[in-house]
């Protein structure tokens, strides 16, 4: 290549097009995405319109049934129930998560409080995020089972006479899942919100302080309004994460979502169909989960590109003003 270039006139070198290299560099991503994500997504959608499952030893279908799988899902009430479970458990974990994270983010960034030991606390609260969710759920199962250390302690300390049983208590099972989700994610949210607060123009806080605003007012009038886009981003991405909730309830309830399947989430339901090779129903559940996440993704996408569009527009206006000035 070097030899070719040295023979061509200088003018030509400048106009050498490197565009093909752009395609070369992005090709692996798009090839892999096409093969392992897009084509499977297409065949998942395709499958959702067929009756196709195993009943004992005999294979039923594949037979085209239109929207029958979707209708069945809603009619027998399974899907709405599991969607509701997912929503309730997610909310039970997420509400304390964002409130605690907001509180900690404000404390950690406060010049007034100047809290000591911040690196230590940040390290501790972020740690559960990296823990294997399935192992964490297994650990909670061991700790909170009827013969586990928590019940042993409560009984030895004469606080309880009978052990608390997950298998019997809807509230306990759901609360434990929510608690694990909370522990795994509040540290992460704290760090994201902190980054957001530190990105706010310091002069706004200084001005508020000069005006004699109380910390509470600074929070509601300055921090929160400026932080709105990031809070929105956190809420939507956490919702998308919540829809995917699987490892923790799956292991904690031993794949069943018991008692009374109140801990059966959408993805656990999907997994059940994948395990039993019910391609029609599995496909329909997948498509519904896809539609929910797609709607939420578009919101994230808009909030992220909005900033870029705004920046672009600003640049254009600036360029225009410069031209006019000339």
């Amino acid at each position: 290549m070097g030899a070719v270039m040295s023979n061509t006139p200088i003018k030509r070198i400048k106009s050498v097009s490197y565009a093909k290299w752009g395609y070369f560099f992005i090709a692996p991503f798009f090839l892999v995405y096409l093969i392992f994500h897009l084509i499977p997504l297409g065949s998942t959608i395709y499958n959702s319109f067929f009756e196709n499952y195993r009943s004992g030893l005999s294979q039923i279908g594949p037979k085209f049934v239109g929207f029958q799988n979707y209708i069945t899902l809603f009619q027998n009430g399974e899907l709405p129930k599991y969607a509701w479970n997912t929503l309730v458990i997610w909310m039970m974990g997420f509400v304390p998560q964002i409130l605690v994270a907001m509180l900690l983010a404000v404390w950690f960034t406060s010049y007034r409080l100047k809290l000591k030991g911040q690196p230590f606390f940040k390290t501790v609260i972020y740690m559960p995020n990296l823990i294997m969710a399935s192992a964490f759920a297994m650990l909670f199962f061991l700790l909170f089972s009827a013969i586990g250390p928590v019940n042993q302690f409560l009984i030895q300390a004469k606080i309880l006479s009978d052990p608390l049983r997950m298998e019997e208590s809807t509230t306990l099972t759901r609360s434990l899942i929510a608690l694990m989700n909370f522990l795994m994610w509040f540290g992460n949210t704290t760090i994201v919100l902190m980054a957001g607060i530190m990105g706010i123009d310091q002069s706004l806080f200084d001005a508020a302080q000069v005006d004699g605003a109380k910390p509470r007012h600074v929070f509601y009038r300055v921090t929160l309004p400026m932080l709105k886009p990031i809070v929105l981003y956190v809420i939507i991405t956490c919702m998308i994460g919540g829809i995917q909730m699987f490892d923790v309830p799956q292991i904690l309830t031993n794949f069943t979502g018991e008692p009374n399947r109140i801990a059966m989430t959408l993805v656990m339901f999907l997994n059940k169909h994948l395990q039993s090779k019910n391609l029609g129903m599995g496909g329909a559940v997948s498509v519904l989960i896809f539609l929910i996440t797609a709607a939420l993704s578009i919101l994230v996408f808009q909030s992220m590109t909005k900033e870029m569009r705004a920046a672009n527009q600003q640049r254009k206006q600036f360029a225009k003003a410069e031209k006019e000035a000339k």
Partner: protein, 292 residues
């Protein structure tokens, strides 16, 4: 004089209030710390106690049977723990390498070159960034079956080449640290474009690669949903699959020392590595969250 005194009083009063609110903050933080660490503390305690001791009662203090439990677990042929650790390391390591290398490559392609579908390609990746992999898993399993990849590691590793979120992080990072003048200088020196990427660009974005490699490794070390659907053979199972298997077995019949030990092995190594790298990792989370 009076005014000065009054001012002093308000300052003292102010600082007293500050002490109160600080104390309150520390109490809440201490509570959260205990909440975060309690379960891991109990895990460490019970991993060092024998089955009989765990069954008879609760203890705040560790036992002496850590090695006994470890030996028991490693010798149990139904739970090939060491094998599963090696498998998990292999899968997570391969995923981390592929994800970071190809994401950097994609980001570089969209950062350094002008071509017709550049904008469209970028918008596409942004749009699919949040689509969960679970929704295409059904078709994915079908595909893996047709390609004869079931019960192999290929379906766990190869798809990681396309990682939109890692790509986005790399792209952001390149925009802040990689001036295109350097690429042009390399061109003038006669460096091939691919060579430039490997020898000049990659070293310049090392911090981003390191952070994303850690995250990718941890994510795949912890991954359970897809591996559980793909892997069947006992010898190929990864740690999360073994844990799920142990949960579904009748655990009352199990040696609890062994069960705690397996969970310990799944959690504690990651925790120790994390403690050493925590500053670096938390910085990475912060960088990733600063968008636009």
């Amino acid at each position: 004089m009076e005014a000065q005194k009054a001012e002093k009083n308000t300052i003292r009063f102010g600082s007293a209030r500050l002490t109160v609110s600080r104390t309150f903050c520390y109490i809440v933080l201490a509570f959260l710390t205990v909440l975060c660490l309690f379960s891991f503390y109990m895990l460490a305690i019970n991993a060092t106690r024998q089955h009989g001791a765990i069954m008879t009662g609760f203890s705040w203090l560790p036992g002496k049977s850590f090695l006994f439990n470890a030996k028991n677990l490693f010798e149990d042929t139904n739970i090939p723990t060491l094998r599963a650790m090696a498998n998990s390391l292999f899968v997570a390591g391969s995923c981390a390498i592929l994800t970071t290398y190809f994401s950097a490559m994609t980001a570089y392609g969209l950062h350094a070159y002008q071509f017709r579908f550049k904008q469209a390609a970028f918008l596409f990746i942004m749009l699919v960034m949040m689509v969960p992999y679970q929704v295409s898993t059904l078709g994915f399993i079908e595909l893996a079956t047709k390609m004869g990849m079931m019960d192999t590691y290929w379906p766990l590793i190869l798809p990681k080449i396309a990682a939109p979120i890692v790509f986005f992080f790399m792209k952001q990072y390149m925009e802040s640290v990689l001036p295109l003048e350097i690429v042009e200088a390399a061109r003038v020196d006669g460096s091939n474009e691919f060579h430039t990427f490997n020898r000049i660009v990659l070293p310049m974005i090392k911090p981003a690669i390191a952070v994303q490699a850690i995250f990718a490794f941890v994510e795949n070390w912890n991954n359970y949903f897809i591996p559980a659907l793909i892997i069947n053979t006992n010898d190929k199972k990864t740690i999360p699959i073994l844990i799920a298997q142990l949960r579904s077995a009748d655990y009352m019949k199990f040696d609890l020392g062994k069960v705690y030990m397996l969970v310990f092995i799944a959690i504690i190594p990651v925790m120790i590595v994390y403690i050493f790298l925590s500053k670096f990792i938390i910085k990475g989370v912060t960088m990733g969250s600063l968008k636009g």
